[in-house]
């Protein structure tokens, strides 16, 4: 008998005689086309079969949470964009809602509608990136370029409304950064009107494609119990058949006024996740249309001069406004001591902001519950016993953003 290796594969020793097979450890990443950023996955392979999988994170750690503690509440806001850089508006929304809760402040109805409209456009945008990259991982290149074409249209609208393509920082505590530009609603409508047809195009390329079905159906499935136990949220959880959408369960920003459905899967496999996200894009389109049609009249910013900066034109002749402006942009505003946890349904799942305030103009502690983080660690469970090609499919279906995971 030869000496056994440390990771000798569990094979029948009688058949192989003195021959021992060993598993191969493969470093997938941090430089790899399909890890969606700087993720490293340690794979134990036996031939092409996966016997072990361990995601290694931390390559993109930027200390965002800690950084927010030394900034005023307003200055901490742009940090949030940089976490989930594919869904900036959703991140902004979670943060401003948390701070508004601490301040016990209500924003006007029009502001809520505008936020919902932009948050749903963000969802479409983020899911488009997911769809494109997921298809690319499975070898379907063309979908990727189609998706990025549509995403570009949304990004252009974001740029015009906020001044920046990706790091929008458009939502502010007590309102939004500025009144949207004149043709904003027309631009949104033009995009949304054309969008369902584009969706049909993508679906034509994938939904009934036999190769795509073979690659995704009953691949890397995860049961509802397992998903809940692992803290999986968002489309992944709903694909496993759990009806949990924060927009329905704990409505925020006026979501209770909108009529939409929560798409659910049953098997929890890669294909169900695909179907759920595709249906979510259609629902997001529906919500955005409702927000656009029912956009109320009225003020956009909350009536709280201590928090919301006064309009620029007042500064020249209104002493009071000048003082407020000066105070907000130097010292910042004092937030009552206390703690708050605000969750929203980001495109990736439950995005939570836990903020502790000690009454000063800077948060005492910010903790972000990033959906990608919990979702990523369902990966080992998913790929167990699968093939190497499935790892790529599963990773794509989780839809991770490393900026959010490492923070």
């Amino acid at each position: 008998m030869s000496t056994e290796g440390t990771n000798t594969a569990a094979r029948e020793p009688d058949i192989l005689g003195p021959i021992r097979t060993e598993t191969m450890t493969l470093n997938m990443g941090p430089q790899h086309p399909s890890t969606h950023g700087v993720l490293r996955v340690l794979l134990e392979l036996e031939g092409e079969s996966v016997v072990g999988c361990k995601p290694e994170i931390g390559y993109l750690h930027t200390g965002i949470e800690k950084n927010m503690e030394v900034k005023t509440y307003n200055k901490a806001l742009p940090m949030t964009d940089r976490m989930d850089y594919l869904a900036p508006m959703s991140n902004n929304l979670g943060y401003v809602l948390a701070v508004e809760k601490l301040l016990d402040m209500e924003v006007p109805r029009r502001c809520k509608y505008l936020r919902v409209l932009l948050a749903e456009m963000t969802r479409i945008q983020s899911h488009l990136v997911w769809l494109g990259t997921h298809a690319l991982d499975l070898g379907a290149m063309t979908v990727f370029l189609y998706c990025f074409r549509e995403r570009e249209a949304i990004i252009k609208i974001f740029e015009k409304v906020s001044g920046v393509r990706m790091m929008t920082s458009y939502f502010r505590v007590g309102g939004v950064a500025r009144e949207p530009y004149a043709e904003f609603y027309d631009d949104c409508r033009r995009f949304l009107d054309a969008f369902p047809e584009k969706m049909d195009d993508y679906e034509e390329l994938l939904t009934d494609n036999p190769i795509f079905l073979r690659r995704t159906e009953s691949v890397c499935a995860i049961s509802a119990e397992k998903a809940i136990a692992l803290g999986v949220t968002g489309p992944l959880l709903r694909a496993s058949g759990v009806d949990y959408d924060i927009r329905k369960k704990e409505p925020y920003s006026g979501y209770e006024e909108f009529d939409f459905e929560v798409p659910l899967g049953s098997a929890g496999d890669v294909y169900d996740r695909y179907c759920v996200r595709i249906a979510e894009m259609r629902q997001a389109h529906r919500i955005a249309m409702q927000a656009l049609d029912g956009m109320p009249e009225g003020p956009l910013q909350a009536d709280n001069p201590k928090v919301v900066p006064p309009p620029k034109e007042q500064l020249a002749h209104d002493m009071e406004a000048l003082i407020h402006h000066f105070k907000i942009f130097t010292e910042g505003y004092h937030v009552p001591a206390g703690e708050v946890y605000q969750v929203i349904e980001s495109p990736r799942g439950e995005l939570g902001y836990y903020i502790i305030s000690d009454g000063s103009p800077s948060p005492y502690k910010v903790k972000v519950r990033a959906p990608s983080f919990s979702n990523l660690f369902a990966l080992p469970e998913m790929v167990k016993g699968g093939m190497f090609g499935d790892v790529v499919a599963a990773l794509g279906s989780v839809d991770i953003v490393l900026g959010e995971i490492d923070r």
């Binding site: 493969l26 499975l138 070898g139 379907a140 290149m141 189609y146 494609n209 190769i211 690659r215 790529v392």
Partner: protein, 327 residues
């Protein structure tokens, strides 16, 4: 002596054309892709980007050749050539035109009329995979190793069906020489007599040339480039060229066996031949632009459980019909 000169000229012209076509196929592929993907593709270098392949070639030539520290240096250098040479040599038996008279001499427009031409092609296409496997193995790196393993498994699974899919044509024409097969299609291309054989060959041909959706040895999104992950500079270009030469050769074989080779009305034979090759090449590109990639085990299952039984059935059915109707 004049015979030797004629053969040399034919070799130079045919192989020169093959390499040039293969190089321009990269341009065509990028343009076709761009067309499908609502982009422009290369359109800056020369008229409509026509000089792009040459620019790419020059760029690759001037790149540094990087050899992994623990690679087997000799095999690492040698392996790309093992892939390229058979890809080029296989073209030698493919007739690209009718007999023409030059300076009072009858010249066949093919390099060598081997009476077992089809076996020769199979032998060489089987060789090509050694370059891939050896290159992958010599890299001494994990991703190429997986790519190489996939490649050899894929070859075994598809070579059989590839051979069997052409057997029907051979049985009908009664010859293994490609010239004889073209001659047999004077009235009717064999695609009408062997439609199943044609479809089987088409699928196997894609698997043989490692093209999407069967491009598992490369599988960029899984294996970061597969067998050629560690290759750079001209070594990489050689693999690349070999892949395209292979595609052109197999397109030519498909055209010869099923579409009547160089036969066609009005236009000169060589033009018809090129057009048929281009049609197959477009099919390759179209497929790659629109389909996802199969998984390794699915690819194997498809080869053994679907293609092989089908091709055997096709051969049996052809044999039965030939015997029954005494063709």
């Amino acid at each position: 002596m004049p015979e030797l000169v004629i053969i040399l000229v034919k070799i130079l012209v045919a192989f020169g054309a093959l390499i040039l076509i293969a190089a321009y196929m990269t341009w065509m592929e990028r343009r076709v892709f761009a067309l499908v993907q609502v982009r422009y593709g290369p359109n800056r270098v020369g008229l409509a980007g026509l000089l792009q392949p040459i620019a790419d070639g020059i760029k690759l030539m001037f790149k540094e050749t990087i050899i992994p520290d623990r690679a087997d240096k000799f095999l690492f250098y040698f392996a790309p050539a093992i892939t390229l040479i058979p890809a080029l040599a296989a073209f030698a038996v493919v007739p690209f035109g009718d007999t023409v008279t030059i300076f009072g001499k009858k010249v066949d427009l093919l390099i060598a009329d081997v009476n077992v031409g089809i076996l020769y092609i199979f032998a060489l296409s089987g060789m090509g995979v050694y370059g891939v496997v050896l290159g992958a193995w010599a890299s001494n790196s994990k991703y190429p190793l997986l790519g190489g393993l996939r490649s050899s498994a894929q070859l075994i699974s598809y070579e059989l069906s590839l051979g069997l899919s052409l057997l029907g044509v051979v049985m009908i024409s009664g010859t293994l020489s490609l010239k004889g097969i073209v001659a047999g299609q004077a009235n009717l291309p064999y695609i009408f007599l062997q439609p199943v054989g044609f479809l089987l060959f088409l699928v196997c041909m894609i698997a043989e040339t490692n093209r999407a959706p069967f491009d598992l040895p490369e599988a960029e999104s899984e294996l970061t480039g597969g067998f050629h992950t560690e290759y750079s500079s001209m070594n990489f270009a050689t693999y690349f060229l070999a892949e395209y030469c292979n595609m052109v050769t197999f397109s030519a074989v498909a055209a010869t066996f099923f579409l009547g080779g160089w036969r066609g009305p009005i236009l000169p034979p060589v033009v018809w031949f090129l057009l048929k090759i281009l049609a197959f090449m477009f099919f390759f590109m179209w497929l790659r632009a629109t389909t996802p990639r199969l998984r390794y085990d699915q690819l194997m299952a498809f080869g053994w459980k679907v293609l092989l039984p089908l091709s055997i059935l096709n051969v049996i059915a052809t044999a039965v019909i030939i015997v029954m109707f005494d063709l």
